[in-house]
Point group: C2
Chain length 304, copies 2
């Protein structure tokens, strides 16, 4: 059986493709995330991988992410929690296109500790990858966070995802930045967390007095009255939201004896690390891209 | 001195004009709120009041609201807290246009109980009106709430506004309804609060486990997994946000021995009344339109 395959992390914002030989990445390419109306996922994929297929023959393709959603290429229904790598493998949707075997990883459905229903798609593969990257996570209970548009807080127990809760943190930030009265003069992108972020964390940490909706208006009033710059105010907004997210999640999942495992983009996980340090919670940071690739590799290997 | 004058509440969404003779309203008209580029406030106003001036001569005009902001007609700088009717009167900006005396009420600047700077413009006149409508509010300490795009929580002590805090409640609701992934299938307007609202209140009341950002994602997941209708989910979203606002405000202003005075549109103040009842806080509801007119009348009378 060949050890050469194509792994793809196909989310709403980007497609990342890897030509793999076992644990080695031979080549990689990037493509568009969500495809436009009238555009066919199959065409997008093959236009990118045709050169690889020409060289290596009809090697299998394994994809994860929004490509498996109802509005994606082929729907891969949510697998139920608790689920580990085996449960995801059983949920793979397999089909053939242009003589190539395609498999798409399922999303996961589960509940939060307070029994709210929840779903994820793409993050489950990153989590399986995190377990491979940091084998000590495969035993015992761990709390993982995958910050982003929809931040996922995930409980893992003995290598299986047992429950999770999503927070609307990144999407709320983007809405307030782009469409609200808070940041009309702003629009600048966030760089590394600065003093504004620290001020936002301090404002919202444990929210001793006044809630999140009250803190949000301060983003505006401090610009009007205290002369804060739009960039400082935007960083403050990020701090307020990240602190509110962390506060809610720690409240929900309870105190953790072990570090929180942060998976994602380095600048974003660093923001969460700073917030968690205010609660004296240690963190371990893993690259989201590395974990996604590692998860796809794990699913491919147990599938072979 | 004439008792006939024109009162106008000119906010961002609407201009409400009243032709008053003492405590009696002889006629009223509505016009646009924010005026477009190249449109002159003076022209908008006079096109509406010219018939009244033709009948009653050059009677004075008293305006409140965003018309006095930096981007309005003539800026009426924020008066400082603590302030009562006298402080607002001293802050009136007066000028003449087309032979008519115009006065614009100032906004207010103040701080929240946790010393965050804050501003209001328009609500201060409604509050002065509330003190006239409910004279028992003129002595002792009272907590008032003016729900809306930017909900104002206001401490009044012996007839003076001593401090306040704004919450971004209505704007956040509108952003999430119109621009987020939570309610794409929605878009329906909210009517009277229903079972979805009650479920949202129950979810967020005291936020026993999990914060607001976590609750927001449930608006989406409950539609996906539990089959909630978009209308029910939107009502739930309203309940979650109103409960979060009330929770933050009561935390900030402390337990009140007296009812919270709710000023605004009847359907919206009723939502806040329902939320406050979960905290066993009684309310008194006053019409925002009535209070604005009453406040303008009070300012006119002490100004005459």
């Amino acid at each position: 059986m060949t050890s050469v395959f194509i792994a793809g992390d196909w989310g709403t914002s980007r497609l990342r493709l890897y030509l793999c030989d076992g644990d080695r990445v031979i080549a990689q390419k990037a493509g568009p995330g969500a495809v436009g109306a009238g555009v066919v996922h199959e065409d997008v994929l093959f236009s990118l991988i045709d050169p690889w297929l020409a060289e290596h023959g009809p090697i299998p393709v394994l994809l994860c992410g929004m490509v498996g959603s109802r509005n994606g290429w082929v729907e891969a229904p949510y697998a139920p929690c608790p689920a580990g790598a085996g449960g995801l493998r059983r949920g793979l949707v397999r089909f053939e296109a242009r003589g190539v075997s395609i498999a798409i990883a399922p999303g996961l459905s589960g509940t939060s500790p307070r029994s709210a229903p929840d779903v994820m798609r793409g993050e489950e593969t990153q989590i399986i990858g995190a377990l491979a990257e940091a084998p000590e996570l495969a035993t015992g209970k761990h709390l993982l966070a995958l910050p982003g548009t929809h931040t996922k807080w995930v409980q893992v127990s003995n290598g299986r995802i047992t429950g999770f809760q999503t927070a609307l943190t990144g999407e709320t930030f983007a809405l307030l930045r782009d469409h609200s009265t808070l940041a009309k003069a702003g629009g600048a992108d966030l760089g590394a967390a600065g003093e504004g972020f620290a001020a936002g964390l301090a404002r919202q940490h444990g929210a001793p007095e006044g809630g999140l909706l009250q803190a949000l208006f301060e983003v505006r009033s401090r610009q009007l009255v205290d002369g804060w710059s739009p960039a400082f105010a935007l960083d403050f907004l990020s701090g307020v939201l990240v602190a509110a997210d962390v506060d809610g999640a720690l409240d929900l999942f309870g105190a953790q004896a072990r570090p929180v495992v942060l998976i994602g983009d380095a600048q974003l996980t660093e923001r969460y690390a700073r917030a968690l340090s205010r609660w004296s919670v240690e963190v371990r940071q893993l690259s989201g891209e590395t974990c996604a690739l590692s998860g796809l590799r794990t699913l491919f290997q147990i599938n072979s």
